[in-house]
């Protein structure tokens, strides 16, 4: 919003002698004139994003007040805010810490506790920008709850602040909108917002120092103080610091006001998106949004009632990203891709990490090599220093099976930001594909350490352990993954694999069937509950179990389902042939072995074909 330019105050007749001694001269009129002019100039400069001008006048305004005065702290805050906006973080933090140290030593200042906390908050923000996390925590008083002002102290501060005259306060509010804000909000709310932001900064510091437990604690504290602090919520959800049940519990604890239900709904759709079987509130909202999106309702506001205000935000990029993410995790890759493509077409420089991640991963899953190549080029051009861009490049090389370059760019992505869990996860896939077990496990473990609330690293560790036949340990990891996310069908598929390998075919069938039931349920909204191609391996696995149990008709039923989802798959033909062979239908088996061998020549099918032919010939003769 453009600020209105203040009407200039009449110029006083007496010439200005020098700012340094004006306050000593007792010429109140001149002093007020100067104060007003400088304040207006700063205000106008800030509204025009002319930070250099703002800094120049803020510096002059600061010199009008003695160090010990209460207003000095406010003007210092104004100057340092301008410096912060101009990205002069070191200078701002230096001036602020110098002042804070001086008042701590002398104790002769009228600066109240609230002002002191505001200055500390700004200094801490500057330290975050310069990656000096230790110093940032030091400014905020370390990891101690007591250093954030208590409720009793708040009341004193409110009284203290209210001592200033209305005119003074109004003037302050106009220039420093983020300091004491508008009159509609109570002072207590402002203090809560400040405390919430300080908690958020602490969370960021601990997160950057890889202390995720404390980071999680401070982010939660921040949200409990002020649920509007989206930055804390985003850090918790984007970095998977909480698991799904913890996320839901947190939302419940936030006690949203009735009129803020829309915000609760928006938060809910940002949570993890696996649990659609239970139809929790977030999946219900997402299903409604997907329905609206599919119907392409332009006038989605017409049928709104008070409880579903979130529909107003359907066209927002963030909401669309949530829908795309939901589709992606339910293996609806083409739907996810079309949404993210649309978002990035409308907003070319949209740098939402989730959106870019879903976009790249969807193209990877759909094997859209050309599109992925083009997108990665654009990303490198626009966000050279973003780890996501290099993650995309690595994914592209992974897709075209250039493993050397894939390794190079995964390394680059993780070296730019070593805390990017999805990159480590993909790094793990890379090593797993190459059969390098130890490296894959190391990458997965790093990913697991970073994505504490996400089950995927644990699931991948379990899958990797199955690959190397360490079934008991694999089972432990998979059960841990199941504890975090109960409704990911892949977990049940992998648990079924363990049962199968242990020769417990009936138990394996139950688990595979559960995986299929969940995936069918997940697909209900998008394709009427049909099993998608992604679950062909599970169907194929069920068929194996029935074959092992010598229920050949059932086995053939599932093999045929598998074949319909993955036509011309030689291994399915071999399996069907083998089943016929075991049934004694040798001619059918021979025909199907031939079909399999026409697609791929493999030893197993050749051996079976020879055996079937031997038996068949004896019949023929």
């Amino acid at each position: 919003m453009m600020a209105t330019i203040a009407t200039p105050t009449p110029i006083p007749p007496t010439p200005i002698l020098g700012a340094g001694n004006i306050h000593k001269s007792n010429n109140d009129q001149q002093f007020l004139y100067l104060e007003s002019r400088l304040t207006d100039n700063i205000k106008n400069a800030l509204s025009m994003q002319s930070f250099t001008t703002a800094i120049y006048f803020a510096d002059k305004l600061l010199t009008l007040y003695p160090l010990s005065s209460k207003k000095y702290a406010d003007q210092l805050f104004l100057l340092c805010s301008s410096l912060y906006l101009d990205k002069q973080f070191q200078r701002a933090s230096f001036l602020l810490t110098k002042y804070l140290n001086s008042i701590d030593k002398s104790g002769q200042t009228k600066c109240n506790q609230y002002q002191r906390l505001t200055l500390k908050h700004l200094a801490a923000k500057c330290k975050i920008e310069t990656n000096e996390y230790d110093q940032c925590l030091q400014i905020l008083g370390g990891d101690n709850d007591q250093n954030i002002i208590n409720d009793d102290e708040q009341d004193d501060d409110i009284d203290d602040i209210d001592d200033s005259t209305d005119d003074d306060q109004q003037q302050q509010d106009n220039v420093i909108p983020f300091l004491m804000t508008d009159n509609n909000k109570s002072r207590l709310d402002n203090i809560k917002i400040l405390r919430s932001n300080i908690c958020m900064i602490r969370g960021k510091c601990f997160e950057s120092m890889d202390n995720f437990k404390k980071a999680r604690y401070w982010y939660i504290q921040s949200l409990l103080l002020d649920y509007n602090c989206y930055e804390s919520f985003e850090s918790l959800s984007r970095n998977h610091l909480l698991n799904y049940s913890e996320e839901l519990e947190l939302i419940d604890r936030l006690n949203f006001k009735a009129q803020d239900q829309w915000l609760k709904d928006l938060y809910l759709i940002s949570l993890k998106k696996y649990d659609s079987v239970n139809q929790n509130s977030n999946t219900k909202i997402l299903d409604t949004l997907i329905q609206l999106n599919n119907e392409n309702i332009d006038d989605n506001n017409s049928n709104n009632n008070d409880n579903d205000n979130y529909k107003y935000f359907l066209s927002s990029n963030d909401v669309q990203t949530c829908i795309a993410e939901y589709n992606f995790y339910h293996h609806q890759f083409s739907d996810a891709y079309s949404i993210t493509k649309k978002i990035l077409k409308q907003d070319n420089y949209y740098n939402n990490q989730i959106c870019l991640m879903v976009h790249i991963s969807s193209m990877f899953e759909l094997q859209k090599t050309n599109e992925l190549y083009y997108t990665c080029n654009q990303l490198i051009e626009n966000f050279t220093q973003s780890p996501i861009s290099w993650y995309g490049v690595a994914s592209y090389y992974q897709l075209i099976q250039n493993y050397e370059l894939s390794l190079k760019f995964f390394t680059k992505s993780t070296s730019i930001d070593s805390r990017i869990g999805p990159s480590w996860l993909a790094f793990g896939h890379h090593f797993a594909n190459k059969g390098e077990h130890d490296q894959a496990m190391a990458a997965y473990r790093t990913s697991s350490r970073l994505l504490t609330g996400c089950h995927l690293p644990l699931l991948c560790i379990g899958m990797e352990l199955i690959r190397v036949h360490n079934l008991s340990l694999a089972s432990q990891y998979l059960l841990q993954a199941k504890d975090i996310c109960e409704y990911d069908p892949i977990i049940y598929n992998e648990l079924g694999i363990i049962e199968y390998k242990n020769g417990k075919y009936q138990e394996a069938i139950v688990l595979f069937q559960k995986a299929l039931d969940i995936s069918t349920f997940n697909n209900q909204s998008s394709n009427g509950g049909e099993i998608s191609e992604s679950w062909e391996p599970t169907i194929y696995n069920v068929a194996h179990c029935y074959r092992k149990l010598r229920q050949f008709n059932q086995a053939l039923k599932y093999y045929n389902m598998s074949l319909s989802l993955s036509p011309n798959n030689p291994s399915v033909f071999t399996a069907i042939g083998f089943t016929h062979h075991l049934e004694g239908k040798l001619d059918d088996a021979i025909d199907i072995y031939h079909q399999s061998l026409s697609l791929r020549d493999d030893t197993f099918t050749n051996v079976l074909l020879q055996k079937a032919l031997s038996l068949s010939i004896l019949e023929y003769d």
Partner: protein, 79 residues
């Protein structure tokens, strides 16, 4: 995040054990039946090497077929 596909159990040469086991079972059963038939002196119409479509033991055959016949069956009979 790039996801991993569900693990797919591939048929390997180890699965031939399943075939071999079934075949052995059928051979044993067939032998038992033949013994029973011999004990009751019922003449058997079928030779030990042949199987019929209605045979309950289609895999019970351990004799290698003559090479010439195999070639003929698979279409490599150039004589």
């Amino acid at each position: 995040m790039i996801t991993k596909k569900p693990t797919r159990i591939e048929i390997t040469l180890d699965d031939l054990e399943e075939y071999q086991k079934l075949k052995d079972e059928q051979t044993t059963l067939k032998k038992k039946q033949q013994n029973r038939n011999n004990n009751t002196n019922t003449p058997s119409n079928s030779s030990s090497n042949t199987t019929t479509d209605q045979s309950p033991y289609p895999l019970a055959n351990s004799v290698k077929p003559p090479k010439q016949t195999s070639e003929k069956r698979i279409g490599y009979d150039f004589d």
